[in-house]
């Protein structure tokens, strides 16, 4: 405990010294974060300085082993670091699907060779990854995917189409589910890693209702993927035809992550903020809106407590393994409701789509963006199915 307090004061001092003021403001949107990769550019010096300071300490991936580019913090230390960063609103130095998704899969399923190579690249922000899961005909029913890798001995030739590949147009590599055995639905999928610069890969951004295009359609036209990238470094995670195990593990991890992203309790309750915003224009909240905000705040504050309990329980292995599905379901539905209420409180001003006063339509675009929360990473309907089956043990679920 004393060590932890030492660590806390050291961390605090280090952050004080190394985290520039500009990096202590909330990330405005996805483009405002640093994503790394071959074509990465820093938006400003502060972003660069902060990234490099963290990189030197292993703080781009603080809980990963030092051998793979992390700081090797234990869970208690990692929590202290999170708390201290959150205390000063420090931004993450590096945003990356490599950190959030591929990394955990490799830590769990990867060979030593894969870890040495890919985890270090991720930690250093050298390679930007994207995820190739969904296909036009396979959304919630992911396992029905059709993208096929034909076995050519030392390589596969991959053909097919992915959809909802986040920032595929900016990504360097993809981790991708590919069918390698048509006979077995579940045990015929391989979790492949390959370069997006490979011949035959093309991407097309999808314009969303929010006006942004964070996702792409990605097409594979006779893409040749070697089975190995060298000693102890296969081009697939886990075993050939057993990629579904890796995908399931990652989906669980993703839901855990999404469910943890509900935000601290500083932002959970919005009624007071909305009242102050109204007051700034000499207005006050409609009484019915006020009641709806209060009902929301009750739910949001209660969910914050649930989030805390969930994280505490995960740490000691007390949480039901399907609990992330519940957290994801409730958290995303709440976030949609939060933005509905913010739009209602904001009135006609928040309808503006590209005015300067609204920062280019942040309220309305942000509101529309939240509608994907309950679709991506497993729909609310799928979450409810999973709870029924795995937690409530209902028949036929």
């Amino acid at each position: 405990m004393a060590d932890l307090e030492t660590f806390r004061s050291e961390t605090r001092a280090w952050l004080e010294a190394n985290c520039p003021a500009e990096m202590r403001e909330p990330v405005r949107d996805e483009d405002d974060a640093y994503w790394g990769g071959r074509r990465a550019k820093f938006k400003n010096d502060a972003q660069k300085a902060w990234f490099e300071a963290c990189l030197a300490k292993g703080y781009t991936v603080p809980a990963w082993p030092q051998a793979y580019g992390g700081a090797g913090l234990n869970p208690a230390e990692a929590k202290v670091l999170r708390e201290e960063m959150s205390r000063i609103n420090a931004r993450p130095p590096l945003s990356s699907f490599g950190i959030w998704m591929l990394g955990p899969a490799l830590l769990h399923f990867g060979t030593e060779g894969q870890k040495q190579r890919f985890l270090n690249e991720i930690a250093r922000g050298e390679i930007r990854w994207c995820q190739g899961y969904s296909e036009p005909g396979s959304g919630s029913d992911l396992v029905s995917l059709q993208t096929f890798g034909e076995d050519k001995g030392d390589s596969w030739v991959v053909n097919g189409q992915k959809i909802w590949t986040s920032y595929a147009d900016h990504a360097d590599w993809i981790f991708c589910l590919v069918r390698t055995d048509k006979a077995d639905k579940y045990q015929g999928i391989t979790f492949m890693l390959f370069d997006m610069a490979s011949i035959g890969v093309s991407t097309k951004p999808i314009l969303l209702i929010s006006g942004n295009s964070p996702f792409c359609e990605t097409f594979f036209d006779n893409v040749s993927v070697p089975k190995s990238y060298g000693d102890d470094c296969p081009a697939y995670v886990g075993q050939i035809n057993r990629g579904w195990d890796v995908a399931k593990y990652l989906l669980g991890h993703e839901r855990e992550m999404i469910s943890g992203a509900g935000g601290g309790d500083r932002t959970a309750a919005i009624g007071a903020v909305m009242k102050r915003a109204a007051a700034r224009t000499g207005d006050e909240l409609d009484p019915v809106l006020r009641a709806e905000l209060a009902m929301f705040d009750v739910d949001a504050l209660a969910y914050t407590a649930m989030g805390e309990k969930f994280l505490d329980e995960i740490k000691v292995g007390k949480a039901h393994p399907a609990q992330p599905n519940m957290m994801k379901y409730v958290g995303t539905e709440l976030n949609k409701r939060r933005h509905e209420l913010m739009m209602a409180a904001g009135g006609s001003r928040s309808l503006e789509w590209d005015s300067e006063e609204t920062g280019g339509g942040k309220p309305s675009r942000g509101w529309l963006r939240t509608k994907a929360n309950s679709i991506e990473g497993g729909t609310s309907e799928v979450m409810l199915n999973v709870i029924a089956k795995r937690i409530l043990d209902l028949p036929g679920a």
């Binding site: 919630s140 209702i209 019915v288 006609s348 309808l351 789509w353 529309l368 679709i375 309907e381």
Partner: protein, 383 residues
Amino acid sequence: MPLYHNDDQAMLADTARGFMAEEGNITKQLRHWRDRNCKDGFGHGLWKQMAEMGFTGMLVGEDDGGLGMGHVEAGIVLEEIGRNLTPSPFLTSSVLAATALKHGSADVKGRYLPGLIAGDSVFAVAIDETAKHRPSRITTRAERSGNGFRLSGSKSFVVYGGSADMIVVAARTSGSDDDDDGITLFAVPKDASGMSHDAVRLVDSSMATHTKFDNVELDGDAVIGEVDGGREVLNAMLLAGRVGAAAEGVGVASGAMDMTVDYLKQRKQFGRLIGEFQALQHRASHLYSEVEIARAVTIKAQQLLDANDGAGSEKAELMVAVAKAKVGRTAGLAVREGVQMHGGIGMTDEYDIGLYMKRDRALQEFLGDANYHTNRVAELNGY
């Protein structure tokens, strides 16, 4: 009067449905003008066509060259506008401004009605001054000046204000900000000097303005109705606009629901049509029920307004508030369920369901959202 369309109304509904589906559909209108970044946000050609159909002047009295129809009829057109997400100045011009102009002098009528009826003119209304609908508080001031008035203040959420040939402005000519009396309505022409617009595109691709009045000089004959006695006209205009917005909202809700139910019958997941999943069936059935009810109460409100020549009995006022509130919640449910049930593709600009969500949001806000009108229902009921 039975709560369904009589034969004439049913015929009008057939006509309007066919016409709007053909000429006012999403591809021809909403996407067309949006993708061209049109500064009006709607097509003048369609407006002219609507005039030829007799729509633009349907609420204008026969003596004044209109069709002398009522809110049931206007609602029929508006429901089709809603279903097709047709960007159109119909609600602001042919419903709101037309209702105000009923109370205008022969002079004012003569100046503006022919253009409306012919589809040559477009009107807007300027009521709100903050981001929320607060018609009880009017701070924009018009002071006597010579034979006329001098108008100063600012208005927001003036839908199609930048394209309007005339804007009906509610201003205070006496009393203090929250007084019921002391309101006067003015017909402010497009070229009035001292009026300036800050145009904004809204989430649904429609256009609105923040409009400033800086000592705008108006003739005495710009007044609609009585000086200081404009509250009654304003209320009539608001009732007409709200029940019209409700009708359009029913169209938005219906269109979103139909599109979603169709999708449930086409999309397969887990080897089944998703419409086979009981959880989705129950939600669709619930939504259907709400849309039916929203439509019923809207017709009820229209009939009550028409029965009273738009003047707004106590009961009509209550049911208009109920309709706007009920439609608001229902259309919100319809578009949220629509996007969610469409899944990922519901989030894409390519599919139309998201456009319904955007239009609903803007329409929701117009002339008071569901919260505002729910509160009004409580107030009108004395609690």
